[in-house]
């Protein structure tokens, strides 16, 4: 018997018991749909996280106080704070040729109010370099300048979400008054919207001159202490050397022991690779759980095929009496089980697509744009896996059928 005949016969046989075939297929549908949807959501999460990390700015280093790089190192006691002098030393082009810009940041969560509205938001004291460094652009007004720094001016650049909260609009805000912790500030600029990021929305923040923050709003234990240094590297190839240069300068300045840095230098690539590791573990985890349901579906197929073999023992005996070889019977039952799982696979892919689509709609509706991505690899994987499940779980019942003794089988009632 050739394959097309075998498929036709298998189709007839499956359609003669639609309810049972349908329920068996359902097991595979759920498994494949789960695999497709989970992989899509996982890949989508990976995309959105990598996207938001890239959105922070390119070739950035983050320098924090406190030892122990992420993922290792020892905690150092009494770490020295990072200071403005550290920032100036790193900015020295001879000591650190790979460094292009350095921006010290003071940051705190403060109460901001205007026009009767009050909110708590991130307030950062920044220098003019902060804007190019973070790729910030303005929809209107001007950025913070050296004059503002020198004059400790009471001016602020606000994010569009903060503008929404306080004023209910994003334009025509230049010259408006806001108060931060009771102190009046004049708005000089509004940031362009960037969308949500993994460290909270960058659209909801207030930027003020560094010197103003230092003297009037965010007081630290020592005068020149900064919360974080942002360092821009000249190009992406120089990131590793920049990390070394910054570390060397800070080691000298803080007189740390070897191997006991009291600061942490973290690059954007580190963030990216950490995030990639986390999300791919997440994707594998989700996919693995989904694969288990596919396995359960496969066992369902085996179960049904075993029932079918028992039920059709007499038919198998007859076919053998008429000259069917082992191979013929094997083909017949393997075709049936493979068709079951193939149908399940196809419907499951469509169904998984639907789930991913719904997840996307729900995510957009709830304000977190998130795009599940169904890759060709996921579809191939699910198809191959489901066909393999059908074959694998079909082999045992089919073998059982093929090895029936014709005399015994014919006698079976």
């Amino acid at each position: 018997m050739n394959l097309s005949q075998a498929i036709l016969e298998a189709l007839e046989s499956l359609s003669s018991n639609k309810m049972r075939s349908g329920l068996t297929v359902l097991g595979i549908v759920i498994g494949v749909a789960a695999v497709i949807a989970m992989l899509a959501v996982g890949t989508g999460a990976q995309d959105s996280i990598t996207g938001s990390i890239s959105g922070i700015g390119t070739n950035l280093l983050f320098v924090f106080r406190g030892g122990g790089r992420m993922g290792g190192g020892t905690e150092v006691r009494n770490p020295k704070p990072l200071t403005l002098q550290d920032a100036a030393a790193i900015a020295d082009p001879f000591a650190a040729p790979s460094v292009e810009l350095v921006a010290p940041v003071l940051q705190d969560s403060l109460i901001v109010s205007a026009a009767g509205q009050t909110t708590t938001t991130n307030v950062s004291g920044v220098t003019p370099d902060y804007f190019p460094l973070r790729n910030y652009t303005l929809t209107e007004g001007d950025v913070i300048t050296e004059e503002h720094l020198l004059g400790r001016a009471s001016v602020a650049v606000i994010g569009p979400e903060t503008a929404d909260t306080l004023f209910g609009r994003r334009d025509g805000l230049i010259g408006e008054q806001i108060t931060i912790e009771g102190q009046p500030f004049r708005i000089i600029g509004v940031l362009t919207a960037k969308g949500g990021g993994m460290f909270g929305s960058e659209d909801n923040q207030v930027l003020i001159p560094y010197s103003t923050a230092q003297t009037r709003l965010i007081q630290r234990r020592t005068r020149d202490q900064v919360d974080m240094l942002l360092v821009q590297v000249v190009d992406s190839e120089s990131v590793p050397s920049a990390v070394e240069e910054v570390s060397a300068i800070l080691r000298t300045r803080h007189r740390t022991e070897i191997g006991a840095d009291d600061f942490t230098v973290f690059s954007q690539q580190d963030f990216l690779s950490t995030a990639a590791t986390i999300t791919s573990v997440l994707t594998i985890f989700l996919g693995g759980i989904a694969a288990i349901s596919l396995l359960v579906g496969g066992i369902g197929i085996m179960n049904i095929m075993l029932v079918s073999v028992t039920e059709r023992t007499k038919e198998i005996g007859l076919r053998k009496a008429l000259g069917a070889r082992k191979r013929d019977i094997l083909t017949q039952f393997l075709t049936e089980s493979s068709l079951l799982s193939l149908f399940g696979g196809i419907i499951g892919i469509a169904f998984g697509w639907l789930i991913a689509f719904i997840v996307e709609k729900v995510a957009i509706a709830s304000g977190t744009p998130f795009y599940p991505r169904i890759g060709l690899d996921a579809i191939l994987l699910a198809t191959i896996f489901s066909a393999a499940v059908g074959l694998f779980f079909g082999i045992y019942p089919a073998n059982r059928a093929a090895n029936l003794e014709p005399v015994e089988a014919l006698r079976y009632e």
Partner: protein, 234 residues
Amino acid sequence: MNQDWVVVADDLVKTYKMGEVEVNALQGASVKIARGEVVSIMGPSGSGKSTMMNILGCLDRPTSGEYMLDGEVVANMTDDQLASVRNRKVGFVFQSFNLLSRQTALFNVELPLRYAGQVENRRQRAADALKAVGLEDRMTHRPTELSGGQQQRVAIARAIVNEPAIIMADEPTGNLDSKVGKEIMQLLLNLNKERGATLIIVTHDPVIAAQTQRIIKLRDGMVEDENMQNGGVQ
């Protein structure tokens, strides 16, 4: 006498193991059947009748002894080789018809040709076989839409479609009333007359056996008696 033997079985022994006990279903039975002969095999239950039929029909192998079917030594063949011999040389007619109930009469008759790998003329040959049993107007009916006699006719068409060396009929009229049974028996005898098909009928029924040329009586796994009648050849 130079006879054209289609079945030559010599000293057949078949032993089944039922747990610890060994049961000898056949204990040295020898049978010869000539081409074109009509033979019935009779015997009380437990006489080895079914075992004899299974071995002659190549469904089973003897424990010892020689069996040559239409010039092929089949006693020591593998399962797949036996399947091929059954396909080419044996046509089965069962008491309970054993048709595939979901398929049409035509498909049922085509089945042996499918397993033979026959593609050309398959439909035509199946249709011819159905015509030979008088069912040319029932080809696309399913077994559930046919009477018992008609179902047995489909089964007979299936048995002759490959033009086998022998037709093994196991109580072919057992599930039919006597009138229809007579018709079926007549059909088988006509096929023998017209096509020269060798017919081996396993039966309890002396009336059926009386219509054959020779009765092989089995008792306790041995051939007890061979009655010549109706112009038998031996």
